[in-house]
């Protein structure tokens, strides 16, 4: 259907990060996502927004949930989705990221979804291709769709984001999820806290508009949302913290620590979770956990992002 004078609500051609998005643009994406939650709950889930379009999933790091939710989102909008098996392809034979970008560009995709282990890699790729690029996580830099789905989950459960206190806990230093969430939640007027041991906090974080806490009791006091982060296995021993056991003892979320937060506080985690390391199974699977809803919102948010970028695709 063609509505010629439709106002452009999202002015960006790519989604490379939350940085640079205004509150208005974020809210527009959340509203779009809200609408597509219902779509995904119907038996007939297909739309035609991206019919004839090609979406390439280019994941240089393994991912289950992000990649599959982009795949589902693309298919529900009618796109042809191709998952590039990066591990098996020429990248392992010494081809650079730029070579890959140029090769893919020649195949004339409409949208590329990229995850890469290095910060800035998605920006680099976006400069070399003609199509829309979505950042599905670049190093410790940004993971914008995760922050959007977290915001949507919070808004659906709390009715708002402005004025809430959100405690982001754990390995913030290495977390792209934390950076995107800090940017998004503070743009929408939440009070954001960073809670973790100093070794897992990025230098200068106090100047990124968050309150910093080095222990869970103070960090969780009065919090509406407790957002736990995954601790990578290779960081559990010696380098940043003494052991997984000590980490869980001081920073792992269990019922006792959750009691420091508001009585109606809710628990989130971007997944996949390390049970007994950063979060206790009882909390992760308990009545205050939003973890499963986050996954559902993941598909809705990715549909919304694809729709928003689709209006800028050529011949659209």
């Amino acid at each position: 259907m063609l509505t010629a004078s439709k106002e452009v609500k999202f002015p960006h051609r790519h989604l490379l990060g939350i940085e640079g998005l205004s509150a208005q643009h974020i809210l527009h994406l959340l509203d779009l996502a809200e609408a597509s939650v219902e779509l995904s709950r119907q038996i007939e889930k297909k739309r035609v927004t991206l019919r004839g379009r090609t979406l390439i999933n280019l994941f240089f790091e393994p991912s289950t949930r992000t990649q599959s939710s982009f795949e589902l989102a693309g298919k529900r909008l009618g796109a042809d989705v191709m998952n590039m098996p990066v591990g098996a392809s020429s990248i392992k034979k010494g081809e650079t990221l730029i070579d890959t970008a140029v090769t893919l560009n020649a195949m004339r995709p409409d949208i590329i979804v990229v995850r890469h282990a290095q910060a800035g890699a998605v920006h680099l790729l976006a400069r070399k291709v003609d199509c829309a690029v979505i950042n599905a996580g670049d190093g410790a830099h940004e993971h914008p769709t995760q922050a959007l789905l977290d915001a949507l989950t919070i808004r659906r459960n709390k009715g708002r984001i402005t004025g809430l206190t959100v405690a982001i806990c754990g390995d913030i230093r290495h977390s792209r999820v934390a950076r995107s969430n800090i940017l998004l939640l503070s743009t929408l007027g939440a009070r954001v806290r960073a809670v973790g041991p100093s070794t897992l906090l990025p230098p200068g974080i106090e100047r990124m508009g968050v309150e910093v806490f080095r222990n869970m009791r103070a960090g969780l006091e009065g919090a509406d949302i407790v957002m736990m982060l995954r601790l990578q296995r290779e960081r559990m021993r010696g380098g940043y913290i003494p052991s997984a056991k000590e980490y869980f003892s001081f920073f792992g979320l269990d019922e006792a620590k959750l009691d420091y937060a508001k009585p109606d506080a809710l628990v989130m985690h971007p997944g996949p979770i390390n049970r007994g390391v950063e979060i206790d199974s009882g909390v992760a699977d308990g009545p205050r956990s939003l973890i499963r809803e986050q996954v559902e919102m993941g598909v809705a948010v990715r549909i919304a992002v694809l729709e928003a970028l689709a209006q800028h695709l050529p011949n659209g």
Binding site: E19, R176, P202, G204, I205
Partner: protein, 441 residues
């Protein structure tokens, strides 16, 4: 655009007079009107008396039209490709870039392949420079055998072969016992040690300056302390051994405090910083621009200002280009994977002139840090506007505006951090030992 180096016999016997110029004497910190007479590659006359009408009839006369004349620049830190990295740079391309930038003496880094840890390699470099170079190339040699930081290099033999300084290039000698022995041994030969000070363990996997900006970009940082800790160790070893020590690159306030103390105590210590650290800061990295990835990393603006002030006061002795050609294969990568380094021979003077135009230091001080100061540290006769000194001279207009176009730079690699930058000040003529080796249209 440029002049091929012609046979020495033809020019050496014909005097050259550079007249109608502003003479910038960095040694005396003075500026005057006049001319310079060059005979047989040596400065034979300076001042207002060198003018049209009072010159030998067979002299070649260059009317400078009021442009500045200064000693040619001496660059104490440049990677020039040979041997082993000729795809990045050659002595021919590096010295052409140097000539175009007003650099008349280059101290070449020893971390080549093979490294300059054998007298035969020093000999090779001197021959290649003689045969293919447009400006003077002085070899520095390795401090430790194979640059491995474990055993003392053949400092005596390397010095005899012609190495003028000793350095492990881009690496720090991690082991303090080795460094102590190297210093003790070098002192016996009165050899100059040039050391890149960075604690590799503390620097870890960092790729830019540690701080808020690195954290926002999601990049691992290198704290200023990595430089200060290594520098502090070195200075303590200088105090113990008495070796002549030059810090290759200081980039932070912490390091300046250490250098100030060492100098106040009368230790034989000097230091340099790079033109990049004087004119750029970490924010210039912007959207992951790998041409701004340097080692040591660009710092916060507060540090840059402190470096400029320390240069103006003379606490920092020398400005280097830290010329480091990197090709697209090593630069067009995600920031953390890209090689560090920037080319700089050709832009060192105009970039430095930014500090003069902004009123941060007088022209004579800027030039002293690129001429007479490095000459004094290296024990060279050039770098001075003085009768009897070698006629290594440059003519430049400090105000001529232009925009840096990488395609027009002479280095084999185009990784300039001043890509499309507006500059004021351009070299019009470069002379080495009385011979014109570069002349702009």
């Amino acid at each position: 655009m440029d002049v091929k180096r012609s046979s020495t016999a033809a020019i050496a016997h014909r005097p050259v007079a550079l007249v109608n110029a502003r003479l910038i004497d960095p040694e005396e910190a003075s500026v005057s009107q006049g001319g310079i007479l060059v005979v047989d590659g040596v400065i034979r006359g300076i001042g207002p008396s060198i003018a049209n009408g009072s010159l030998p009839s067979h002299a070649q006369i260059v009317d400078c039209g009021g442009d500045c004349i200064a000693p040619g620049l001496i660059d104490m830190r440049a990677f020039i490709g040979e041997p082993g990295a000729e795809h990045r740079e050659t002595i021919a391309s590096a010295t052409l870039a140097a000539a175009a930038g007003g650099v008349t003496t280059i101290l070449a880094r020893p971390d080549t392949s093979p490294p300059v840890d054998d007298p035969a390699v020093v000999d090779f470099l001197l021959r290649r420079a003689r045969d293919t170079g447009r400006v003077r190339v002085l070899p520095s040699a390795a401090l430790t055998a194979g640059l491995k930081g474990a055993e003392i290099a053949e400092i005596g033999l390397l010095q005899q072969a012609g190495a003028v300084a000793f350095s492990d290039g881009a690496q720090s000698v991690r082991n303090s016992r080795v460094m102590r022995r190297v210093m003790e041994y070098a002192r016996d030969f009165n050899a100059l040690i040039i050391h890149y000070a960075e604690d590799p363990d503390l620097a870890g996997d960092g790729v830019m300056n540690e701080g808020e900006f690195a954290s926002r970009l999601g990049l691992a940082g290198i704290p200023r302390e990595a430089e200060a800790i290594m520098l502090d160790r070195d200075i303590r070893l200088v105090r113990l051994t008495g070796a002549r020590y030059h810090a290759a690159l200081v980039t932070s306030i912490l390091s300046l405090e250490i250098i100030a103390k060492a100098k106040a105590d009368g230790l034989p210590v000097t230091c340099a910083t790079s033109i990049n650290h004087l004119t750029l800061n970490e924010n210039d990295i912007g959207d992951y621009r790998t041409f701004l990835k340097l080692a040591p990393p660009l710092r916060h603006e507060d540090e840059r200002r402190a470096l400029v002030a320390a240069l103006a006061s003379g606490l920092i002795d020398v400005i280097v280009s830290d010329h480091n050609p990197q090709d697209v294969e090593t630069k067009r990568l995600p920031f953390a994977e890209a090689e560090a380094g920037a080319i700089g021979l050709e832009t060192m003077l105009p970039a430095g002139l930014r500090l003069v135009h902004s009123g941060e230091m007088p022209l004579t001080r800027l030039l002293a840090a690129m001429t007479v100061c490095p000459a004094a540290i290296l024990g060279l006769p050039q770098g001075r506007l003085r009768e009897g000194a070698p006629a290594d001279l440059i003519r430049f207009d400090p105000d001529e505006p232009y925009i840096v176009d990488p395609a027009h730079l002479h280095s084999r690699c185009k990784n300039t951090p001043f890509d499309e930058a507006r500059m004021e000040g351009r070299v019009k003529l470069t002379m080495v030992q009385g011979e014109i080796v570069f002349e702009a249209d």
